[in-house]
Symmetry: C2
């Protein structure tokens, strides 16, 4: 009888962090990049299923202007449909107007989205790095005053499609500004997915040298060039203990130029489980959720684990 490899053999690696956190971004970072219109009730069900599968942090949506990201225009309705205390449910807020809307909805954890490069700030935030950070200052301050945890994303940390190589000093400067404002954690993003393991380790060392505590740093890798999980491994060896991932790897079609190629939560959980970490995630239930969502989106999941486990008869929705 052939055993489906539903869970990896557990062998710990010496020297890695004692515990790790998985920060689920699928409903926000994944769905915002999808062309398919997903009904509000389906978004709510998606978040609820992710929580039931054991994810204790699920970023829900973004209170960005509906003019910019029409896919997320229903942010208040999604939040209203959820038990905000069933898990940590951060939402992205781009400015004070977004914060006000989030506060009205009872949100108790937020994130802001900064850029390490001027080119991406201009193209994505329609601003300069400095102006966008100034805009975040009152958001972070007021969020903290309201007792919120506030996460600061820093994008384009491993290469920029307009500027090319990004110097660690640039990232450290933006990270330092965000920490001064009061963010409680940072998420450093490889927005184009081109980074490799040596860069990851060098960046962590640069930040630690600049006085940043490893414990406040999460890494957000994209799999555009297949490097995401290798980069997670490199980051683990450098002492990083929080990783962003998207259930099923959703976020941009893998066959389109706009692909964001988020690291799939399932592939991350497979590795972490093998390394002996208790992620709290029920992998077959998570796979079933991603199989269901891939049907909603009308295309197969790019996650290797989802494909393998669905094939083996696990993860049927």
């Amino acid at each position: 009888m052939i055993l489906p490899a539903t869970l990896p053999t557990v062998v710990r690696q010496p020297g890695l962090p004692a515990a790790v956190r998985v920060y689920e971004v699928g409903p926000r970072d994944g769905l915002q990049a999808e062309k398919t219109v997903v009904p509000t009730a389906t978004k709510v069900e998606f978040v609820q299923r992710l929580v039931r599968a054991g994810l204790d942090t699920v970023e829900v949506t973004s209170f960005v202007s509906p003019r910019w990201v029409p896919q997320l225009a229903d942010a208040p309705d999604v939040v209203a449909g959820l038990d905000l205390h069933a898990a940590r449910h951060p939402v992205l807020v781009p400015n004070e107007r977004g914060l006000d809307r989030a506060l009205e909805c009872g949100v108790w954890e937020i994130a802001v989205f900064a850029s390490a490069t001027e080119a991406f700030a201009r193209n994505n935030l329609n601003s300069t790095v400095d102006d966008s950070l100034r805009m975040f200052e009152p958001v972070v301050r007021r969020g903290r005053e309201a007792g919120m945890r506030v996460r600061g994303y820093v994008s384009m940390c491993f290469g920029d499609p307009w500027e090319g190589t990004v110097a660690p000093a640039q990232i450290a400067a933006v990270a330092g500004r965000l920490l001064e404002m009061g963010v409680t954690s940072l998420s450093l993003g490889d927005t184009i997915g081109a980074g490799t393991a040596g860069q990851v380790i060098a960046l962590v060392e640069h930040l630690v040298g600049a006085g940043v505590d490893r414990d406040v740093v999460a890494m957000h890798f994209h799999d555009t060039y297949g490097q995401a999980l290798a980069n997670v491994h490199a980051a683990l060896t450098a002492g990083i203990a929080e990783f962003d991932a998207s259930a099923g790897g959703i976020g941009g079609c893998p066959f389109a130029r706009s692909a964001t190629g988020n690291l799939a939560t399932e592939d991350l959980v497979w590795m972490l489980t093998g390394l002996g970490y208790d992620t709290g995630v029920d992998l077959p239930e998570l796979v079933a959720t991603s199989v269901w969502m891939s049907q909603v989106l009308g295309r197969p999941s790019p996650s290797a684990v989802v494909r393998a486990m669905a094939r083996d008869g696990g993860g049927q929705s």
Copy 2:
């Protein structure tokens, strides 16, 4: 203007091997698992294009009985179509009859294919582990006497679909027997792709403790659960310096149960290039070769780098 990220930023990681080797298995391990009948002339062109793209070791075919693997029945014709001194061109031989055929064709490097588990030996080799090793003894001895380099594959090193977890001592026993026979290198395979980073490091340490030199050990990872490149990274940190990969990730359909999910050479080369290794590979030329082969096979390449670079206008065949 958006720069396509045709090459990663180079940042070395301290403590890794000074140099690495990429061992290309696409024409043999890839094509033997493909259902599409590939004409002999196309196989020859595939190997030639891989060599032109800079790969200095390309395993060509297998002199297995045509009854077992009809896709490789043209092994002598493929070899006859090649300049066997344009690169290292090992071929797989299952027994003395295969060795005789390979010698007649002027082959000067061979590989044998052993199993770490009884279940896989029975199911794949129709033998026991011990009997199959006995069968390889004269093959290795005569190959060495003929001045050949001889590689010993060991499959199922990170989990077996019938037996589950595989103990490092089992792998060390098979590896030890092969080294005693005279093989010049070992390739340890994660045949089901379920292994994770801690297992990789523990296995290397176990083998080194058993007296095996890291320099004779290659690792052969499959991407079935998305772990292949993370496992390469783990192996690099453990001092392993040779990795098997398949151009374009060919070898079994990624959407079929039989998927072998070979690590894509392009994804490996991306990481190694980022880590500062000179692989000698021209990545756009390799991507162009894989795009062409994906057209031959009638389905898109599962390699992330192939998809990303073909999308960016690189890698057109």
